[in-house]
Amino acid sequence: MSAETQTTRRIRVFRYKRGDDEHRYDEFDVPVSERSTALDALRWIQLRQDPTLALRHSCFHASCGTCGVRVNGREGLGCVTALSDVSGDTVTIEPLANLPVLNDVVSDVTPFMERFPEPHPYIRKSEFISEADTPDDVDAYGRFEDCIECGICLSACPVAATDDTYFGPAALAYAQRMLEEARGADREALLDWADSEHGAWRCHASFECTEACPSDVRPAQRIMLLRKELGNRKKEVSS
Protein backbone atom coordinates (compact mmCIF):
# COMPACT_ATOMS: atom_id res chain seq x y z
CA MET A 1 0.00 0.00 0.00
CA SER A 2 1.75 3.16 -1.12
CA ALA A 3 1.40 6.25 1.08
CA GLU A 4 0.37 8.61 -1.73
CA THR A 5 -2.71 6.56 -2.65
CA GLN A 6 -4.03 6.36 0.90
CA THR A 7 -7.22 8.07 1.94
CA THR A 8 -9.43 7.75 4.95
CA ARG A 9 -12.85 6.15 4.81
CA ARG A 10 -15.41 6.13 7.58
CA ILE A 11 -16.40 2.55 8.29
CA ARG A 12 -19.62 1.92 10.21
CA VAL A 13 -19.64 -1.55 11.70
CA PHE A 14 -22.53 -3.61 13.06
CA ARG A 15 -21.83 -4.68 16.64
CA TYR A 16 -23.54 -7.34 18.68
CA LYS A 17 -22.23 -9.51 21.48
CA ARG A 18 -24.06 -12.39 23.10
CA GLY A 19 -26.17 -11.04 25.91
CA ASP A 20 -26.62 -7.59 24.38
CA ASP A 21 -30.20 -6.37 24.35
CA GLU A 22 -29.80 -5.07 20.83
CA HIS A 23 -27.18 -4.34 18.23
CA ARG A 24 -25.45 -1.00 17.63
CA TYR A 25 -23.15 0.55 15.05
CA ASP A 26 -19.61 1.78 15.79
CA GLU A 27 -17.77 4.11 13.45
CA PHE A 28 -14.06 4.08 12.65
CA ASP A 29 -11.88 6.17 10.38
CA VAL A 30 -9.75 3.73 8.45
CA PRO A 31 -6.81 4.44 6.10
CA VAL A 32 -7.49 2.75 2.78
CA SER A 33 -5.95 2.49 -0.67
CA GLU A 34 -7.61 1.73 -3.98
CA ARG A 35 -7.04 -1.96 -3.40
CA SER A 36 -8.33 -2.10 0.17
CA THR A 37 -11.19 -4.48 0.73
CA ALA A 38 -13.94 -4.55 3.32
CA LEU A 39 -12.06 -7.35 5.07
CA ASP A 40 -8.87 -5.27 5.10
CA ALA A 41 -10.78 -2.49 6.83
CA LEU A 42 -12.27 -4.83 9.41
CA ARG A 43 -8.87 -6.35 10.14
CA TRP A 44 -7.31 -2.89 10.50
CA ILE A 45 -10.02 -1.94 12.98
CA GLN A 46 -9.47 -5.14 14.93
CA LEU A 47 -5.68 -4.70 15.01
CA ARG A 48 -5.48 -0.94 15.56
CA GLN A 49 -8.73 0.31 17.05
CA ASP A 50 -10.85 -2.32 18.70
CA PRO A 51 -9.54 -5.82 19.41
CA THR A 52 -13.00 -6.92 20.55
CA LEU A 53 -14.32 -6.72 16.99
CA ALA A 54 -15.13 -10.24 15.84
CA LEU A 55 -14.74 -11.20 12.21
CA ARG A 56 -14.30 -14.40 10.29
CA HIS A 57 -12.08 -15.12 7.32
CA SER A 58 -9.71 -17.71 6.02
CA CYS A 59 -8.44 -17.76 2.45
CA PHE A 60 -8.46 -14.09 1.32
CA HIS A 61 -9.25 -15.10 -2.27
CA ALA A 62 -12.97 -15.87 -2.44
CA SER A 63 -12.73 -19.61 -2.14
CA CYS A 64 -13.53 -20.39 1.49
CA GLY A 65 -16.80 -18.46 1.71
CA THR A 66 -16.38 -17.52 5.37
CA CYS A 67 -16.21 -13.73 5.14
CA GLY A 68 -19.63 -13.03 3.63
CA VAL A 69 -21.02 -9.70 4.83
CA ARG A 70 -23.25 -6.90 3.61
CA VAL A 71 -21.40 -3.81 2.49
CA ASN A 72 -23.72 -0.81 2.19
CA GLY A 73 -26.63 -3.22 2.00
CA ARG A 74 -25.21 -5.40 -0.74
CA GLU A 75 -23.97 -8.92 -0.08
CA GLY A 76 -20.39 -9.81 -0.90
CA LEU A 77 -17.29 -11.59 0.27
CA GLY A 78 -15.36 -9.12 2.41
CA CYS A 79 -12.04 -10.31 0.98
CA VAL A 80 -12.88 -9.29 -2.59
CA THR A 81 -15.21 -6.34 -2.02
CA ALA A 82 -13.05 -3.34 -2.88
CA LEU A 83 -13.94 -0.25 -0.88
CA SER A 84 -13.13 1.86 -3.94
CA ASP A 85 -16.16 0.24 -5.61
CA VAL A 86 -18.42 1.26 -2.75
CA SER A 87 -19.93 4.72 -3.04
CA GLY A 88 -20.87 7.06 -0.23
CA ASP A 89 -18.96 8.85 2.50
CA THR A 90 -19.60 6.11 5.00
CA VAL A 91 -19.30 2.40 4.33
CA THR A 92 -21.61 0.28 6.47
CA ILE A 93 -20.57 -3.31 7.07
CA GLU A 94 -23.15 -5.68 8.50
CA PRO A 95 -23.52 -9.45 8.90
CA LEU A 96 -25.52 -11.39 6.34
CA ALA A 97 -29.28 -11.00 6.57
CA ASN A 98 -31.67 -13.85 7.35
CA LEU A 99 -29.12 -15.71 9.48
CA PRO A 100 -28.61 -15.29 13.24
CA VAL A 101 -25.73 -13.10 14.37
CA LEU A 102 -23.06 -14.98 16.25
CA ASN A 103 -20.78 -12.10 17.10
CA ASP A 104 -20.51 -8.65 15.47
CA VAL A 105 -20.32 -9.25 11.69
CA VAL A 106 -20.05 -13.02 12.06
CA SER A 107 -23.20 -14.96 11.16
CA ASP A 108 -24.15 -18.34 12.53
CA VAL A 109 -24.33 -20.50 9.41
CA THR A 110 -25.85 -23.50 11.21
CA PRO A 111 -29.37 -22.75 9.93
CA PHE A 112 -27.93 -22.35 6.44
CA MET A 113 -26.16 -25.72 6.55
CA GLU A 114 -29.19 -27.47 8.07
CA ARG A 115 -31.19 -26.55 5.00
CA PHE A 116 -29.22 -28.89 2.75
CA PRO A 117 -30.62 -32.35 1.99
CA GLU A 118 -28.50 -35.29 3.08
CA PRO A 119 -26.07 -36.56 2.07
CA HIS A 120 -24.17 -33.29 2.09
CA PRO A 121 -20.59 -34.38 2.71
CA TYR A 122 -17.65 -32.03 2.97
CA ILE A 123 -15.88 -33.99 0.27
CA ARG A 124 -18.03 -35.67 -2.30
CA LYS A 125 -17.35 -39.22 -3.29
CA SER A 126 -16.69 -38.31 -6.91
CA GLU A 127 -13.83 -36.05 -5.84
CA PHE A 128 -11.63 -38.75 -4.40
CA ILE A 129 -12.35 -41.90 -6.35
CA SER A 130 -9.92 -42.05 -9.25
CA GLU A 131 -12.14 -44.23 -11.40
CA ALA A 132 -14.98 -41.70 -11.36
CA ASP A 133 -16.08 -40.93 -14.89
CA THR A 134 -15.91 -37.39 -16.08
CA PRO A 135 -19.40 -36.22 -16.94
CA ASP A 136 -20.08 -35.90 -20.66
CA ASP A 137 -20.97 -32.24 -20.39
CA VAL A 138 -18.54 -30.86 -17.87
CA ASP A 139 -19.87 -27.32 -18.08
CA ALA A 140 -23.27 -28.44 -16.90
CA TYR A 141 -21.74 -29.83 -13.73
CA GLY A 142 -18.98 -27.39 -13.07
CA ARG A 143 -21.01 -24.58 -11.61
CA PHE A 144 -22.19 -26.45 -8.58
CA GLU A 145 -18.75 -27.58 -7.78
CA ASP A 146 -18.15 -23.85 -7.43
CA CYS A 147 -20.59 -23.31 -4.57
CA ILE A 148 -18.57 -22.15 -1.57
CA GLU A 149 -21.57 -22.24 0.78
CA CYS A 150 -21.07 -18.69 1.95
CA GLY A 151 -24.75 -18.01 2.66
CA ILE A 152 -24.80 -14.87 0.53
CA CYS A 153 -27.67 -16.18 -1.64
CA LEU A 154 -29.85 -16.72 1.42
CA SER A 155 -29.12 -13.18 2.60
CA ALA A 156 -30.08 -11.72 -0.77
CA CYS A 157 -33.28 -13.76 -1.17
CA PRO A 158 -36.50 -11.76 -0.61
CA VAL A 159 -38.44 -14.94 0.19
CA ALA A 160 -36.00 -15.95 2.93
CA ALA A 161 -36.46 -12.44 4.33
CA THR A 162 -39.98 -13.32 5.39
CA ASP A 163 -39.89 -17.12 5.59
CA ASP A 164 -37.34 -18.89 7.80
CA THR A 165 -38.65 -22.27 6.69
CA TYR A 166 -37.72 -21.78 3.02
CA PHE A 167 -34.92 -24.17 2.02
CA GLY A 168 -33.22 -21.35 0.17
CA PRO A 169 -31.22 -21.03 -3.05
CA ALA A 170 -28.02 -22.89 -2.12
CA ALA A 171 -29.73 -26.01 -0.83
CA LEU A 172 -32.10 -26.22 -3.78
CA ALA A 173 -29.26 -25.60 -6.23
CA TYR A 174 -27.31 -28.35 -4.51
CA ALA A 175 -30.24 -30.74 -4.97
CA GLN A 176 -30.41 -29.85 -8.65
CA ARG A 177 -26.72 -30.58 -9.03
CA MET A 178 -27.22 -33.93 -7.34
CA LEU A 179 -30.03 -34.72 -9.77
CA GLU A 180 -27.80 -33.95 -12.73
CA GLU A 181 -25.00 -36.12 -11.47
CA ALA A 182 -26.15 -39.68 -12.00
CA ARG A 183 -23.92 -41.36 -9.45
CA GLY A 184 -26.28 -43.19 -7.22
CA ALA A 185 -28.33 -40.20 -6.16
CA ASP A 186 -31.81 -41.15 -5.01
CA ARG A 187 -33.65 -38.96 -7.50
CA GLU A 188 -37.12 -39.62 -6.16
CA ALA A 189 -36.14 -38.75 -2.60
CA LEU A 190 -34.46 -35.55 -3.75
CA LEU A 191 -37.48 -34.58 -5.85
CA ASP A 192 -39.80 -35.30 -2.92
CA TRP A 193 -37.66 -33.04 -0.76
CA ALA A 194 -37.64 -30.25 -3.36
CA ASP A 195 -41.38 -30.63 -3.97
CA SER A 196 -42.30 -29.70 -0.39
CA GLU A 197 -44.00 -26.45 0.50
CA HIS A 198 -40.64 -25.06 1.64
CA GLY A 199 -38.89 -26.12 -1.55
CA ALA A 200 -38.60 -25.13 -5.20
CA TRP A 201 -42.15 -23.78 -5.50
CA ARG A 202 -41.55 -21.27 -2.71
CA CYS A 203 -39.04 -19.40 -4.89
CA HIS A 204 -40.48 -16.29 -6.52
CA ALA A 205 -37.82 -16.00 -9.20
CA SER A 206 -36.38 -12.63 -8.27
CA PHE A 207 -32.95 -13.98 -9.27
CA GLU A 208 -31.31 -12.00 -6.46
CA CYS A 209 -29.40 -15.12 -5.40
CA THR A 210 -27.86 -15.34 -8.85
CA GLU A 211 -27.06 -11.61 -8.82
CA ALA A 212 -25.35 -11.86 -5.44
CA CYS A 213 -23.54 -15.19 -5.82
CA PRO A 214 -19.77 -14.56 -5.77
CA SER A 215 -19.07 -17.91 -7.38
CA ASP A 216 -21.34 -17.79 -10.44
CA VAL A 217 -23.35 -20.76 -9.27
CA ARG A 218 -26.57 -19.25 -10.65
CA PRO A 219 -28.85 -20.84 -8.05
CA ALA A 220 -32.05 -19.26 -9.41
CA GLN A 221 -31.54 -20.83 -12.81
CA ARG A 222 -31.05 -24.18 -11.11
CA ILE A 223 -34.22 -23.79 -9.08
CA MET A 224 -36.10 -23.17 -12.32
CA LEU A 225 -34.61 -26.36 -13.76
CA LEU A 226 -35.65 -28.15 -10.60
CA ARG A 227 -39.21 -26.95 -11.16
CA LYS A 228 -39.07 -28.23 -14.71
CA GLU A 229 -37.96 -31.59 -13.37
CA LEU A 230 -40.78 -31.60 -10.81
CA GLY A 231 -43.28 -30.65 -13.51
CA ASN A 232 -42.09 -33.48 -15.74
CA ARG A 233 -42.46 -35.93 -12.87
CA LYS A 234 -46.02 -34.79 -12.22
CA LYS A 235 -46.81 -35.21 -15.91
CA GLU A 236 -45.37 -38.74 -15.86
CA VAL A 237 -47.41 -39.64 -12.80
CA SER A 238 -50.64 -38.27 -14.25
CA SER A 239 -50.14 -40.03 -17.60
Binding site: F14, Y16, R18, E22, H23, N72, G73, R74, E94, P95, L96, A97, N98, L99, P100, V101, L102, N103, D108, T110, P111, E114, R115, F116, P117, E118, P119, P158, A161, T162, D164, T165, Y166, F167, G168, A171, G184, A185, D186, A189, L190, D192, W193, S196, H198, H204, A205, S206, F207, E208, T210, E211, A220, Q221, M224, L225, R227, K228, G231
Partner: protein, 149 residues
Protein backbone atom coordinates in the same frame (compact mmCIF):
# COMPACT_ATOMS: atom_id res chain seq x y z
CA UNK B 1 -28.80 -42.61 -0.31
CA UNK B 2 -31.45 -41.02 1.81
CA UNK B 3 -32.67 -37.48 1.91
CA UNK B 4 -33.04 -35.95 5.32
CA UNK B 5 -36.71 -35.16 5.59
CA UNK B 6 -35.94 -33.38 8.82
CA UNK B 7 -34.04 -30.77 6.85
CA UNK B 8 -37.12 -28.59 7.04
CA UNK B 9 -35.66 -25.41 8.56
CA UNK B 10 -38.83 -24.97 10.58
CA UNK B 11 -37.79 -27.90 12.73
CA UNK B 12 -36.54 -27.65 16.26
CA UNK B 13 -32.88 -27.84 15.29
CA UNK B 14 -32.84 -24.56 13.48
CA UNK B 15 -35.10 -22.81 15.93
CA UNK B 16 -32.88 -23.75 18.84
CA UNK B 17 -29.74 -22.63 17.02
CA UNK B 18 -31.35 -19.32 16.21
CA UNK B 19 -32.73 -18.72 19.69
CA UNK B 20 -29.46 -19.51 21.42
CA UNK B 21 -27.33 -17.16 19.37
CA UNK B 22 -28.40 -13.74 18.31
CA UNK B 23 -30.94 -11.72 16.43
CA UNK B 24 -31.55 -12.31 12.75
CA UNK B 25 -30.75 -9.14 10.81
CA UNK B 26 -33.39 -8.25 8.25
CA UNK B 27 -33.12 -5.65 5.56
CA UNK B 28 -36.65 -4.55 6.29
CA UNK B 29 -39.44 -5.38 8.65
CA UNK B 30 -41.64 -8.16 7.29
CA UNK B 31 -43.19 -7.82 3.85
CA UNK B 32 -41.57 -4.39 3.33
CA UNK B 33 -38.59 -6.47 2.12
CA UNK B 34 -40.66 -7.47 -0.91
CA UNK B 35 -40.77 -3.89 -2.11
CA UNK B 36 -37.22 -2.77 -1.37
CA UNK B 37 -35.46 -2.50 -4.71
CA UNK B 38 -32.49 -0.46 -3.51
CA UNK B 39 -29.18 -1.93 -4.71
CA UNK B 40 -31.07 -4.82 -6.27
CA UNK B 41 -31.32 -6.13 -9.80
CA UNK B 42 -34.01 -6.23 -12.47
CA UNK B 43 -35.37 -9.49 -11.05
CA UNK B 44 -36.12 -7.86 -7.71
CA UNK B 45 -37.85 -4.99 -9.51
CA UNK B 46 -40.02 -7.51 -11.39
CA UNK B 47 -40.72 -9.40 -8.17
CA UNK B 48 -41.69 -6.21 -6.32
CA UNK B 49 -43.90 -4.93 -9.10
CA UNK B 50 -45.58 -8.32 -9.37
CA UNK B 51 -46.42 -8.27 -5.66
CA UNK B 52 -47.62 -4.67 -5.80
CA UNK B 53 -49.83 -5.20 -8.83
CA UNK B 54 -51.07 -8.49 -7.41
CA UNK B 55 -52.23 -6.76 -4.24
CA UNK B 56 -53.72 -3.96 -6.34
CA UNK B 57 -55.68 -6.40 -8.49
CA UNK B 58 -57.06 -8.19 -5.43
CA UNK B 59 -58.11 -4.82 -4.04
CA UNK B 60 -59.72 -3.97 -7.39
CA UNK B 61 -61.65 -7.25 -7.42
CA UNK B 62 -63.35 -6.41 -4.13
CA UNK B 63 -63.86 -2.80 -5.20
CA UNK B 64 -65.44 -4.02 -8.41
CA UNK B 65 -67.84 -6.27 -6.51
CA UNK B 66 -68.71 -3.40 -4.17
CA UNK B 67 -69.40 -1.12 -7.14
CA UNK B 68 -71.56 -3.75 -8.85
CA UNK B 69 -73.58 -4.05 -5.66
CA UNK B 70 -74.96 -0.56 -6.36
CA UNK B 71 -77.20 -2.34 -8.88
CA UNK B 72 -79.14 -3.67 -5.93
CA UNK B 73 -79.94 -0.07 -4.99
CA UNK B 74 -81.79 0.60 -8.22
CA UNK B 75 -81.47 2.51 -11.49
CA UNK B 76 -80.82 5.89 -9.87
CA UNK B 77 -77.87 4.68 -7.79
CA UNK B 78 -76.35 3.00 -10.82
CA UNK B 79 -76.76 6.11 -12.98
CA UNK B 80 -75.13 8.19 -10.26
CA UNK B 81 -72.17 5.82 -10.25
CA UNK B 82 -71.87 5.95 -14.05
CA UNK B 83 -71.76 9.73 -13.80
CA UNK B 84 -68.62 9.40 -11.67
CA UNK B 85 -67.17 6.50 -13.64
CA UNK B 86 -67.06 8.45 -16.89
CA UNK B 87 -65.08 11.39 -15.53
CA UNK B 88 -61.48 11.77 -16.73
CA UNK B 89 -60.13 11.26 -13.22
CA UNK B 90 -61.94 7.95 -12.91
CA UNK B 91 -60.88 6.88 -16.39
CA UNK B 92 -57.27 7.45 -15.35
CA UNK B 93 -57.85 4.80 -12.71
CA UNK B 94 -58.94 2.49 -15.50
CA UNK B 95 -55.61 3.13 -17.22
CA UNK B 96 -53.91 2.30 -13.92
CA UNK B 97 -55.91 -0.92 -13.80
CA UNK B 98 -54.77 -1.86 -17.31
CA UNK B 99 -51.17 -1.13 -16.25
CA UNK B 100 -51.58 -3.51 -13.31
CA UNK B 101 -53.12 -6.20 -15.48
CA UNK B 102 -50.37 -5.92 -18.10
CA UNK B 103 -47.50 -5.77 -15.61
CA UNK B 104 -48.80 -8.73 -13.63
CA UNK B 105 -50.01 -10.78 -16.58
CA UNK B 106 -46.98 -10.40 -18.80
CA UNK B 107 -44.57 -11.05 -15.94
CA UNK B 108 -46.69 -14.05 -15.04
CA UNK B 109 -46.16 -15.40 -18.55
CA UNK B 110 -42.42 -14.83 -18.18
CA UNK B 111 -42.39 -16.67 -14.86
CA UNK B 112 -44.39 -19.54 -16.34
CA UNK B 113 -41.87 -19.79 -19.17
CA UNK B 114 -38.74 -19.79 -17.02
CA UNK B 115 -40.41 -21.98 -14.39
CA UNK B 116 -40.94 -24.61 -17.05
CA UNK B 117 -37.31 -24.44 -18.07
CA UNK B 118 -37.62 -22.16 -21.10
CA UNK B 119 -35.49 -19.06 -21.55
CA UNK B 120 -33.95 -19.32 -18.08
CA UNK B 121 -30.70 -17.75 -19.14
CA UNK B 122 -32.57 -14.95 -20.91
CA UNK B 123 -34.89 -14.00 -18.06
CA UNK B 124 -33.74 -10.37 -18.11
CA UNK B 125 -34.27 -10.07 -21.87
CA UNK B 126 -37.68 -11.68 -21.42
CA UNK B 127 -38.59 -9.08 -18.83
CA UNK B 128 -37.38 -6.24 -21.05
CA UNK B 129 -39.54 -7.68 -23.84
CA UNK B 130 -42.50 -7.76 -21.48
CA UNK B 131 -41.85 -4.12 -20.64
CA UNK B 132 -41.80 -3.11 -24.31
CA UNK B 133 -44.92 -5.10 -25.21
CA UNK B 134 -46.68 -3.87 -22.08
CA UNK B 135 -45.85 -0.24 -22.82
CA UNK B 136 -47.20 -0.50 -26.37
CA UNK B 137 -50.41 -2.19 -25.18
CA UNK B 138 -50.80 0.33 -22.34
CA UNK B 139 -50.44 3.27 -24.72
CA UNK B 140 -53.07 1.74 -27.00
CA UNK B 141 -55.41 1.13 -24.09
CA UNK B 142 -54.89 4.64 -22.70
CA UNK B 143 -55.70 6.19 -26.07
CA UNK B 144 -58.80 4.04 -26.32
CA UNK B 145 -59.99 4.79 -22.77
CA UNK B 146 -59.18 8.49 -22.62
CA UNK B 147 -59.64 9.37 -26.27
CA UNK B 148 -63.22 8.08 -26.61
CA UNK B 149 -66.18 10.34 -27.12
Amino acid sequence: MSVRRGADPGTEGIRSARDDVGPIPRKNVGPVAWFDIRKRGLGQFAFSLNRLTGLGLVFYLYLHLAVLSTLFRGQEAWDDFLGIATTKAFLLLDVLLVFGLLAHGLNGLRLALIGSGRGIDHQKALYRSCQVIGTILLLGAALHILGGD
